[in-house]
Amino acid sequence: MKTKMKSYKKYFSGAVLAILFFTQTAFPAKAAFFGSTSFDPMDAANELIDGFGIDRDTMNSSIQTYNVSPNKEISPQVSLNFSPTNPQLGDKVTVTATPTYFINDTKKMYFTWFLKQNGCDQTNNPNSAQRTKCDLNNDGRVNIEDYKIKAMRIIANNDFVWENADYSHSDGNSSYRAAFGGDDQRGKNAYCYLRDITSGEVYAIDCNTHLFPDAPHENTGDGSFGRNEESFWHTNPTIADTTQSGNTDEANVAGLGLDSFTWSYDSGDKIGVVVEGIAVSTTQTADSSFKTMWAAPKGMCYKNSAADFKNVSSLNDCLYDNLTSPSENSASSSKLEVSLSYSPTSPINDPNNVTDPNLSLGDDITVQSAVNNANDNNYLQYSWEAFASDDPSPDSWGSPLPKSSLPNSTQMEGLGLDTFKFKLNLHNPKKYLNIKLTVKESTGDGNYREGHTNILIPIKSNDDVLSTFLTTATNVSAPHISMASEICTSAIESALCPIVKNKIIGVKIPQGNLTDFLWTVDGKPFTYSSCFFDGCNLSKQTNVAYFPALKEVGEQYIIGLTAINQTTNEKVSLSKTFKVVDPSIAISSLNSNTCKPVQLGNYIDLNGKSWPDYSTLNFWGLSNSSIQLQASTVNFPSSGNVYTWIVDGNAIDATTAPAFGYSVDANGVLTLPSKKTGEGYNVTATTIYSQDEAALAALNKYWNISYDQFYEKNITKDIIITMQDGVSIASSATPKKILATIYTSLPSYLTFILRITLTMIIILFGSQLILAFFPSIKREIK
């Protein structure tokens, strides 16, 4: 009873103490410390955390993150790179594996390659063809083992001619014992793991084997590599290292450090690799071991839960999902890289002459494509499409323009059409043309690589072209300038317009709907102190402008114009480049049948158009025909120019010409008499280049050019005429001209025939005469 009471006392006192403790009545110091009259451990903990300045939410989040961090660890991975990325049948393809998140050095890891050939799908009942081609271990099935054998046999064999090898015995040194996790994990305990892709949980699996391929009734990596295995793997039985790579034959079959694999590509081939090594995370056992894990290009066993896999050998089932083809693996590089460019850079449309594009002045647009990564650019399938819109980036470009609406367009679909050309001769053109190109290349296995791109071409109308003019000036006291002949209208000169120093050049754009003109020369606005031309307005610029060419020969001017199109409220920007050149004159023949410049060859412009290139020095003359020559200025006004002719060193004019047998008519045309073949003339024309007084006054008054800067200059032009017979000079002539040439040379040819006939008659007569004194003899070849 006493004992019972003692026990109750004990419990009671304990309970009181406990109550006192939690109500703090017994510990006033603690109550003061916690700052509360009643004690709440949670509050106390929170107050403690707050006291250290820690945010509780952040701490909770961090703890939660820490709790799941093992699930977030990155598993070992491997990526593949193919070279070439788009192999053709028979190409040697090298695939390189790049493992990541393994600790081992690459050379210490095991790379098990597997190669599946076309027609070798996994089956437990292969037909005879599959049995022969695919069932390499003769187990009556075609599976991942056969794929591994195919690949590792290529590696181990290394082109050794095994058919003639004697496999009755082995060198005995070809063996290799593999260690779980890699060659550098030798001596450590083996722990194999597989990570569940979804949950991130890591599951331990039984390290029952490696994923190496095995010869029938043999184990790869067991430290034994006898003649049976040498024979099966087609290795050289007389040496330990058939590949001469430093690995023994068995190490090669185990894939030790073999991070690349090369084979002859066949259509439908698929390749894969599984890499064995140690993961970054360690085991929790009290030893030096790491987690032995496997990596495959698409992930290990990502289709199933890792819990379903109990041992390493079961991982083989995951490898089928890791087969990949070079093109599939290199999706980005399999896309053809297509680029487009076009010329001319600012194409101009001519809305006129729609019925006959050949008369149109519109630019010939050439869109040139380039494909950088095609296997063979000659066998690319091109498909060109053209769209038009007034908006550079519309929601929809609509339907492509039909070929018929693109004048002179080249073929739009077919092999090798890397260039698309058409003429800008559109009646109602939109502001932008969008040229789209799709290029396809057959990969040889029934599939195609494809690439496409487009290019936007802004279209300028013919109305928006700057016209350039030479000028005339009148009235010396108050010079007035007006436009004379238009220059730089040809394609070549419109790109770089030649002008002569100290000449005033006029530029003009049709008024149309344009307003707010701003002309600039080399970026600076045109300014005039007073009006000196029609259409001038001192308060604002107009559609006409004048500028003097004051720079030195060889230098350039860039004339710019910006204006606003009132109809569309859009800004129009145009520019034209001028080059200062020396003044020059040219000598031309009035009759190209009797005298013409020598053709040196042909220019071919950016559009592929051919332009004849004539010599300015050497001329052909037709023998026995008179020649008429005329001199003219090239890049300055010709009015009032007087030419002096020098023929074979003799200066002549209309008066003195008859004394030499020549003539110069009222228009300055020089006529030279005929000469024989091989003879010729040296002809020089001379004139004086100068400014008229009104133009000088205008330059002085409006552009402050002092008179001492002007000069007169003698300009000469020489030509050499060589007389030729009719055939030579008419070589590029039309059929009519050829007939004319033959006709003109007919008399001399008849004379020639007569002479040659007479010569022949004399020879024949002489022979007859001599032989007449003797009897004729006839013999046959014996």
């Binding site: 073949t677 020639f752 003797f774 003899i777 013999r779």
Partner: protein, 217 residues
């Protein structure tokens, strides 16, 4: 004895006369004055083709067939032509491969530009020159000395070589024609028709030119 002497004298006299005519033909085919290319072509045709034909018909009073103008319809001739063509191909392939013949032998630039220009050159310009040469050397010269049997082949080839030497045309450019001169002479001697030699030579030159052009591209 007297008849024999007379026959011999007549024989040698005839050879001297025909040799003189051959010499004059060659000389005039080069030196007869011309003023343009049409006259130049005409000169070759007159002195290398027409004059020899007239001599055969008017002076020798023989049929052209006895001077090699026989239609080429013998299988054996065709067979020999093919053999020589193969032989020439091998020979010039070796020259191209080991002696750099292709860098010395020139095909006119314009004939390289297009197939049509190539055909124009080979079948017109070259053909006219080559045919006149074949008629003169393979028909006229070779059959003028037919009494000397196979030596006639060497005589006409030697004469051709002499012409090249004198005109300073002996170069890599004329090597194929020297080969044709010898091979075609033998072919004519065996077949008694110069047409085999003509067709063989023309085909050989066209093939060679085409091959040289293809090497340059």
């Amino acid at each position: 004895m007297s008849d024999n002497f007379s026959t011999k004298l007549s024989f040698y006299k005839e050879k001297v006369v025909i040799s003189t005519v051959i010499f004059l033909c060659l000389l005039l085919s080069v030196t007869f004055p011309v003023s343009d290319s049409i006259q130049s072509i005409s000169r070759s045709i007159f002195f290398l083709i027409i004059l020899p034909i007239l001599y055969i018909k008017l002076i020798s009073k023989e049929t052209l067939s006895s001077w090699g103008w026989i239609k080429p319809n013998k299988i054996s001739g065709l067979f020999l032509s093919l053999i020589l063509l193969a032989l020439g191909s091998v020979l010039f392939f070796l020259l191209i491969r080991f002696v750099g013949f292709s860098s010395h032998y020139q095909v006119p630039l314009f004939a390289k530009n297009s197939f049509a220009d190539f055909l124009l050159y080979e079948l017109f310009f070259l053909n006219v020159y080559f045919f006149s040469q074949e008629v003169f050397f393979k028909s006229f010269v070779l059959f003028a000395f037919k009494q000397f049997s196979a030596w006639a082949v060497l005589i006409q080839s030697g004469l051709y070589l002499l012409v090249l030497l004198i005109s300073k045309d002996l170069s890599w450019q004329t090597t194929p024609f020297i080969f044709i001169s010898l091979a075609g002479g033998w072919l004519t001697y065996k077949t008694k028709s110069f047409f085999y030699s003509y067709f063989f030579g023309l085909l050989f030159i066209i093939t060679l030119d085409a091959y040289i052009i293809s090497l340059a591209k």
